[in-house]
């Protein structure tokens, strides 16, 4: 427990450092950091609608974060969540507009297809990883480009709604993911995300499968020795991660946009990955970090009207967080190597 606490204190320090450097940069553009951060806070949590907006942004980051957590815990670095999200989103939209079904069932089928699409998409890198040992980081990153462009192609050339926008026809109302409040597009996706985070956390802590997967992630040779089929687990982990990535896309189209638009959800997959890394691969921790990134995104909308800072400042802050987290990880590792040796035997 103590160890966990210490690990997280490092992440908090990283965030504080990033915000501090961010403040300096804001000062450099002759704006007051206090004002910018207060505006961000107001933009994120200022009133009911703003909080709902923040939660709306948080939802896809959270679900993509969970997808990343699943991979990280199983020793697989799925950087292709963005692509899985796009394909899942498109697949759900397609079921939504092209396949009339009764209410309720329509949502379930569309979500299921989104999940399958995400899993199917990652199954290609997963196959090469398992069969030939191809590095999944590279192949999943590359698969993002294909996914984004493929969905653009499908949208523009095959399913384009007549009219000016590069988007599919709207989905039928039977496929809408119900909204939670009248004043916001915030929908059941958030509840699904929270439930999924709890489930995944429970799965890793309390099931035999979760134990096996964690062991593959943290000590693959030990897992192999202990009789766990390491390759199979790795494949399944990537598949599960991709499935959740697809789900995130499905929830965005069915809950928020009610259609698939080209470039409909930029960067959620990557934000989710960062949220998961910042949370050390803990799904519960990812709820907190996803909320943080969601708040940054939503709060930034107010930045351009109320301050001289551009909303890109939040991208800068995110990048700084990544940098300081990486630096922390490296420093910790260095500290560990000598500390480990000291501990090894007194």
């Amino acid at each position: 427990m103590n160890d966990k606490l210490r690990a997280f204190s490092g992440q908090i320090v990283a965030v504080v450092i990033a915000l501090a450097i961010g403040a300096v940069i804001i000062m450099l553009i002759d704006e007051s950091p206090t004002k910018v951060f207060m505006t961000l806070m107001r933009g994120a949590f200022g009133d009911q609608a703003k909080i709902a907006g923040t939660l709306l942004q948080t939802t896809p980051i959270l679900i993509c974060g969970i997808a990343a957590c699943i991979g990280l815990r199983g020793g697989m670095f799925n950087v292709g969540i963005e692509g899985q999200l796009f394909l899942g989103g498109f697949a759900a939209a397609w079921v939504g507009f092209a396949m009339p079904l009764p209410p309720g069932l329509h949502v379930v089928v569309a979500m299921t297809v989104a999940v399958i699409a995400g899993a199917a998409w990652v199954s290609i890198p997963a196959f090469f990883r398992t069969r030939y040992g191809t590095n999944e980081v590279v192949s999943t990153i590359l698969s993002n480009y294909v996914a984004v462009l493929l969905t653009s192609y499908l949208t523009i050339f095959l399913f384009k709604r007549p009219g000016g926008w590069s988007e599919t026809p709207p989905i039928l109302a039977t496929a809408y993911l119900p909204e939670l409040f009248a004043f916001s597009r915030l929908n059941w996706g958030l509840i699904i995300g929270l439930a999924l985070a709890l489930f995944v956390a429970w799965f890793f802590r309390s099931t035999a499968k979760g134990y096996s997967i964690s062991m593959v992630g943290s000590a693959p040779k030990f897992a192999e020795y202990g009789g766990i089929d390491v390759k199979r687990q790795g494949f399944m982990v990537l598949l599960a991660s991709g499935a959740v990535g697809g789900l995130a896309g499905g929830i965005e189209t069915l809950g928020v946009h009610h259609r698939f638009m080209e470039g409909f959800a930029p960067g959620f997959g990557f934000d989710g990955l960062i949220a998961a890394l910042l949370a050390n691969g803990s799904p519960i921790g990812t709820i907190v970090t996803a909320l943080f990134f969601g708040a940054l995104r939503n709060g930034s909308l107010l930045l351009e009207t109320d301050t001289n800072a551009s909303r890109e400042i939040i991208t800068v802050i995110q990048a700084l967080i990544i940098l300081s987290v990486s630096a922390q990880v490296l420093m910790k590792r260095r500290g560990d190597s000598t500390a480990g040796e000291r501990r090894w035997k007194f």
């Binding site: 134990y211 062991m215 020795y225 000291r342």
Partner: protein, 519 residues
Amino acid sequence: MSTTSPATAQTAVELIGITKRFGAFVANEDVNLTVKRGEIHAIIGENGAGKTTLMNILFGLLQPDEGKIRLNGQDTVVGDPATAISAGLGMVHQHFKLVPSLSVADNVFLGMEIRRNGLIDHATQIAKTRELSERFGLKVEPEERVSLLSVGIEQRIEILKVLARGARTIILDEPTAVLTPQESRELFQTLRGFVAGGMTVIFISHHLEEVMEVSDTVTVLRHGKHVATRPTAELTKADMVRMMVGRDVSFDRRPREKTDGQVVLDVKNLWARDDRRLPALRDATFTVRGGEIVGIAGVAGNGQTELAEVLSGLRPASHGSAMLKGSDLTALSTAAIREAGLAHVPGDRLVRGVDGSASISSNLLMGRQNKAPWSRNGILDWRAAGNQAVEMIKRFDIRARGPEDTVKRLSGGNIQKVVLAREFTNDADFLLIDQPTRGVDIGAQESIHDEIMRQRASGRAVLVISVQLDELLTLADRILVMFNGRIMGEVDGGSADSERIGMMMAGLEPGIVSDEVAS
């Protein structure tokens, strides 16, 4: 490179009244140590006796709570390793810190690269490495990549690193733990060369044979306290053990009942390749019966690892069979082999045997995560796992703060006990134990041997692979000797002649094709 070593000082290192606490734990208590110039000074003691802490204090990696350090006769505050290095100290750690993708010379000069016009001057680095290598008799090929080299050569590189930084007093932390007997012997020769040239060597070990062989003076630590410093010549091995452990420990051959069990493991014409795809195990044929301990002797790297890996399903066999009570292990997955009745204590316990970052309970759960009472319907019962851990900690005398203690915090011997606890309590008919006591202190060695004998008495078939012949002579009913992938012959454990075994270990027995000996 070292400028501050007045040759007049008689003592290279003096530690006076060193005390170091970690919280409530006292790692060193009022320890005094005087190392004379030009001697090989061994520091011995069980794991946890405070040897490494003391050396880390000397080298500036840790700061003492009390006491002072005198280097070359001068009071010195060793605030960091840089201070120690500039005073002519050098430390070779137990775990090497080399960059595998770089060349030998690049590793030697890592952090103090020789530059020309702002770029690394590889040619000079290589030349200087070669010069050091020749001067001190540490044979290396400066341009070779470290990832291709054996552990013994990696150690030479570590020593060269220290020499390149101008060390006159070299501290080696358990240098032989990873070496073959031959490599150890070469190392000792090098160390003797060092002291003959006026250098000083501090040598941490718990291999008493080696301490007897190589050191001039011995300091014994026990529970963080200084017990004695004596000339090695005045001591016997038994004296040292008594001082280290605080009681008499026996390494005589274990008494045993004769047994006549069924054949449990039947290996026939087994072949396997190593990672370079060369034949590493050649035509092994042997049996292990229930209630019998069969030992595999041999210098490390003569096919023992491959044999263990084939029997445990971690490496495919290229030919032959290994029947465990009717199932052929060569055709089964690791999981199926365990199901068929194998318990396996792996040779590289830190990589294969445990997940160092996980708790003791979690490590003891491996292989049981799908079995009652530890799990039902796929749901783990962590309370049952915790209870199991508490029980095992008690039964196997694992020194830990509790079942949730992280394994990597434990000492080597205690980590080994975690592995043994898990494997010995599997209801397996066949125990494969690779290096039962490597890196394990003497008190714990005895209890591990006790446990192995208990497994024998309960009727299990036991195969012990060890590079320590003493250990096999203590335990085994029969000893098979491996050389160059082949089983050279079999000797009776009770009447074994270590001379003859030694000959076979070196491949000197009639009946081998000569070109194989050469390779």
